[in-house]
Symmetry: C2
Amino acid sequence: MDIAIPLFDRFTALDAVGPYEVLSRLPGHRITFVADRPGPKTTDNGMLTIVAEKALADLPRPEIFVVPGGIGTRAMMRDQPLIDWVRGAHETSRYSCSVCTGSLVLGAAGLLDGLEATTHWASMELLGSAGATPVSRRVVEQGKVITAAGVSSGIDMALTLAARIAGDAVAQAIQLGIEYDPQPPFDSGSLDKAPREAIDLCRRVERAVDEGEPVRV
Amino acid sequence: MDIAIPLFDRFTALDAVGPYEVLSRLPGHRITFVADRPGPKTTDNGMLTIVAEKALADLPRPEIFVVPGGIGTRAMMRDQPLIDWVRGAHETSRYSCSVCTGSLVLGAAGLLDGLEATTHWASMELLGSAGATPVSRRVVEQGKVITAAGVSSGIDMALTLAARIAGDAVAQAIQLGIEYDPQPPFDSGSLDKAPREAIDLCRRVERAVDEGEPVRV
């Protein structure tokens, strides 16, 4: 069974690598990073490069695909080769998934029309304009379409997906294998919980990103 | 300020990318992936390739370094160029860190002698034989040496480190930026919590890995 993760310029690394780390441990599945053509793709901040093994055209019908987010998704919403690939893959996929602003690409391809979906908290409005009904949940399942909230939520989404595919015990074994027993030193991971100062700092970054600056707090 | 993440054959992707995603958002810091020579390095399961931007020799004195884990660390414990680099970097580093079995490399370089340290739960015994006093905590701080438990714990470690470097508000803003508000579908991330069936499944994988099989549940 093929799982494809499409890469593009200015993706966010953890959006792709969180689900990869979980799903690569599923028995009988193979993960392939795909892009417009095989070769390196660099993240939003320019500091990490992952190599896409195959072209989109080489893997048109994966059983599962996961579109990561990143500031690069804004351009990808108008990238016909990727949009066509997402539409085509979705026709026969078992699961069509996104992490963070990857849902904007699903939306642009028409996959989210009339469905609830989620994205990074700072992009909820944009998700609404891409055809979905935005909801603030960490993982949103709508039949075979599964969207996850910001960046790190792809790990939770992938564990949910692993359970759907291979059963709870396998998903739990994967969780133990990656020792995913989260103990963050703060409780600041959502708008509801973060202190005001952290929210203000973070919003300044999000604005800078929208204006094309590097991603920095 | 330079942060270096050394890569090697058969590293575990999330061990490296979790801390990268957090630390790359620190103001005024730059993350560089380094390896024996610049170029691609492939993960434990052969499905993901990250490009090392520089050679170890090009960045001998980073302020911070984070050694990821993976089955490749067993060979790296005897890899003189990496061991020498870790020793040299540690002489002047502000923080010397590891994730998962990356601590075996710190141990082999003599950095953990007489210190408490942690690693993936399945490698505690090996960590003891590498000179450390193994402890089952998610993040272990011993002065400037910080070790993290298995795979995903590097995210928690990096948030702790971000707070030490730039203060709580910046670390909290980064946590919000990556929306790290974990909600795993199961509570199976540690030996204490995982169901028996998941532990048995996972131990079978760990044994296969030790015997050189691909990493699969």
